[in-house]
Symmetry: C2
């Protein structure tokens, strides 16, 4: 399987910072290799995500300010495939098998309501995670969970400073640098 | 199967309005019956979600300003179960079968970083959708998709004014009141 990158369209500085941060955290936790925020620089979101990756590990990449059309065209030119998540697209259950046969790189495009129509034409697949008004965070998470066949639950993030230990009823964080286990009282 | 309601904790007016709207849209699209925003009234988010439901159908309920502790305790007292989604909880794949055996009502509690520790004790299950820093929107969407066994993709929303028709490459909306199909140029 190739690389999976996410292209976040329609981001507006400050107004969308929190939702875009959710998109980034979701992409990282659920197994994408990195995320590009299209067209607008946002060093604050970049810094937040780099800090998470430094602390919790892995090598998720984050950049912002790349022009969307060039990013999509360059990806296609190099043989990568484009999956555009939109409530208007074909139903995920109807296309997931076809998408799962892709052996190369996949760019997952997510955005807002005002997605340029051209994206629908440039995409190899326009895919809907329900045909209802939806969160792009939710659409991305379900797409990645299906595409990667739930493997995010077993994914390891190397070089982390801390690790969350699954617990029945408390917050339990292991500090890997000191190799001691800390229980945070809740 | 009983009702599924979502309790959205830690909402702050304006600052969290967009993320909370994403939580609501996700809950509705993926098959929950309604959502309660804890502790703080937000008539703007309520109005947005009621408008979506009016247009796209179904009977998703939305309310805000209910105190969280009372909401959880009342739910438990009536025999309902509490599922708290948190990166610190037990892994979803390890507990989903147990949760799926619940025949009564389920309250899914989602929040922010500053979740009161008491919630961990009041919950019947603390459940993690990956043990990484995560979006509550993503966690909720994957939990609902697993718990409802992907049935949201076939869910119908009665009494809608419009319906999105899944399309390979365009925005296609059917207006049900006029029973004509409109293609929106993209």
């Amino acid at each position: 399987m190739g690389r999976i990158m996410v292209l976040r369209m329609g981001h507006r500085f400050f107004r969308d910072s929190r939702v875009t941060t959710h998109v980034c955290l979701t992409a990282r936790a659920l197994g994408a290799d990195g995320l590009i925020i299209a067209d607008r620089e946002d060093k604050t979101v970049e810094a937040t995500i780099r800090e998470v990756t430094g602390r919790f590990g892995g090598d998720f990449s984050i950049e912002s300010g790349q022009p969307w059309r060039k990013t999509i065209r360059d990806w296609s030119d190099k043989g990568g495939k484009i999956v555009h998540l939109t409530a208007y697209g074909l139903r995920l259950p109807d296309v997931i098998d076809e998408i799962n046969q892709v052996e190369g790189d996949i760019l997952v495009v997510v955005g807002s309501e005002k997605m340029p129509g051209e994206v629908f034409k440039l995409a190899d697949w326009n895919v809907s995670v329900t045909n209802q008004p939806m969160s792009e965070v939710a659409a991305l998470s379900i797409f990645l969970d299906w595409h990667l066949k739930h493997s995010a639950f077993d994914k390891t993030f190397p070089n982390s400073e801390v690790r969350i230990v699954p617990s029945r009823d408390q917050k339990k964080i292991q500090r890997l640098s000191l190799t001691t286990s800390t229980r945070v009282r809740v």
